[in-house]
């Protein structure tokens, strides 16, 4: 079977499929791509299932070589064929994260039903860790005739990017006006951000009460407010529970947009309607 040889990779590049749903109760975060839209687009372009395992590359450049014949797409851009031994350089771009999908997908073992890497627990992906120069990543069997498929897109983020949120469940644990403060502030993406969470700078959200709240379930997109008032938007490798209050929750489409923003980019939050399937009246 063909392999993809890693010549250069930035820190934190991991294999991700669509994620590992259904194991939150065992303490296992959802994992999966930071930007599910670009991940699916890259896969569909090479004829894979949208949920196949692709390489997620944050920030830096990556250089790869083909061992055997490979067909690739970066972020859903036009397909590239690589002959045995050919190299490909993927430069960094405006987006904070890019996806390299290979026809056939990365054939790493399924762990709890998923090929996604959870580096913090050394689980899944390629040896449970970020990939590095010298790794030989196994490629699965490509489908016979990849059909060109319409690929999903989201609008490019504006400046500031606007993220849709719903109010969180812990407003009573924050000062009155905390949600309004979140909505009124123009935030900046902190460089101290990763797959666990994106930290935001620009103001401190007023807290109330002590910080020893017991752990409660967390969700991807939750905007936690830490003890010093810093909001953190939880990412795909978030801890399953946490003690900080959740002021708001970023919706799915906006999670992909957030993932595209490099450090220092400006973001604002806007309230969205609750999901239309939500018929509760209380």
């Amino acid at each position: 079977m063909p392999e993809l040889l890693v010549l250069v990779a930035p820190p934190g590049a991991t294999i991700q499929d669509a994620g590992r749903p259904g194991w939150l109760h065992a303490g296992v975060p959802p994992s999966g791509p930071l930007d599910a839209t670009a991940h699916a687009a890259a896969n569909l372009t090479v004829g894979n299932d949208a949920r196949a395992a692709a390489l997620e590359v944050p920030l830096g450049p990556v250089r790869i070589a083909a061992a055997g014949e490979l067909m690739l797409s970066i972020d859903g851009e036009r397909r590239v064929s690589l002959r045995d031994g050919a190299e490909l350089f993927v430069p960094p771009c405006e987006r904070a994260v890019r996806y390299v999908a290979v026809a056939g997908g990365f054939d790493v073992p399924l762990v709890l039903g998923s090929r996604a890497t959870l580096a913090v627990a050394a689980l899944g992906g390629f040896e449970g860790r970020a990939i590095r120069a010298g790794d030989r990543l196994p490629i699965g069997l490509a489908r016979a005739a990849p059909a060109p498929t319409a690929t999903p897109t989201i609008g490019e983020p504006g400046d500031p990017a606007v993220l849709q949120v719903m109010p969180g469940p812990h407003l009573h644990r924050l000062s009155p006006g905390a949600l309004e403060q979140l909505l009124a502030t123009t935030w900046q993406i902190s460089p101290r951000s990763d797959r666990v969470g994106v930290r935001l700078e620009g103001a401190a959200i007023a807290r109330r009460g002590d910080d020893r709240a017991p752990p409660v379930p967390m969700v991807r997109g939750a905007v936690q407010v830490t003890s010093d008032g810093t909001p953190i938007v939880l990412g795909p490798d978030h801890p399953v529970t946490g003690g900080y209050p959740v002021v708001a929750v970023v919706g799915r489409a906006s999670q992909a947009m957030l993932a595209r923003l490099r450090a220092k980019r400006a973001v604002r939050f806007a309230l969205s309607e609750p999901p239309s399937t939500d018929r509760r009246s209380r």
Partner: protein, 207 residues
């Protein structure tokens, strides 16, 4: 009880029983009842709260939660019991003694002198929050977390004690380590050794 939408794929249920002495049992009962009614859902247990993931549309989910809340006399079954061998040699043992105004020997005696219940699983795969800690041992987290805590480290923070299932960053106070135990194994069913409701005792392996 309050039910909130939690992002666009989940519901959050605050049982509003934060200070109830039987909080863990009641939360676990509601979770068991919800799992029976929603076999495809992923029900996460928190301290007096729950979240329900992966059940698609929300039609009737409120009704199901209300029903689960009121289901009385639910038998969760005989708790599984674990005896874990521990060595109390953690790097924060002396800090904990100082912070609690006691001796290292007292800290150890207070920690291994009681049985704990697993209230919930969180933080990391298979990380069990064990309670109640003796009130005299309640201390905060370390001011700055360690970049890496060794697997099997035995730790305390707030009202809980727990064991790191894998090496990871961590801010809990490390008081020792547990021997010969795999807390999380994705090849096992269930993958987490300690389940909510299980009872745990620490037995000194260095005494």
């Amino acid at each position: 009880m309050k039910i909130h939408p939690y992002g666009d794929g989940a519901l959050y249920v605050d049982l509003e029983i934060d200070d109830a002495p039987d909080r863990a049992d009641r939360t676990r009962n509601v979770a068991a009842s919800l799992r029976e009614r929603l076999p495809d859902g992923d029900v996460v247990i928190g301290a007096g709260s729950l979240a329900v993931f992966g059940v698609g549309g929300w039609d009737d989910l409120d009704g199901i939660i209300v029903e689960a809340m009121s289901a009385s006399g639910l038998v969760v079954g005989e708790p599984r019991k674990h005896e874990l061998r521990a060595i109390y040699d953690g790097p924060d043992l002396e800090d904990v003694a100082r912070l609690t105004g006691s001796s290292v020997a007292d800290v150890i005696a207070l920690h291994c002198g009681r049985e704990y219940g697993v209230e919930l699983i969180g933080f990391l795969p298979g990380f069990a929050y064990l309670a109640p800690l003796d009130p005299r041992l309640v201390v905060g987290r370390r001011a700055s977390p360690r970049p890496r805590v060794a697997p099997s480290s035995l730790a305390i923070a707030g009202a809980y004690t727990g064991i790191y299932p894998v090496g990871s960053p961590g801010g809990w106070q490390l008081i020792g380590r547990v021997l010969d135990v795999t807390l999380f194994d994705p090849g096992c069913d269930p993958p987490a050794l300690l389940q909510p409701g299980d009872r745990v005792r620490f037995v000194r392996a260095d005494a």
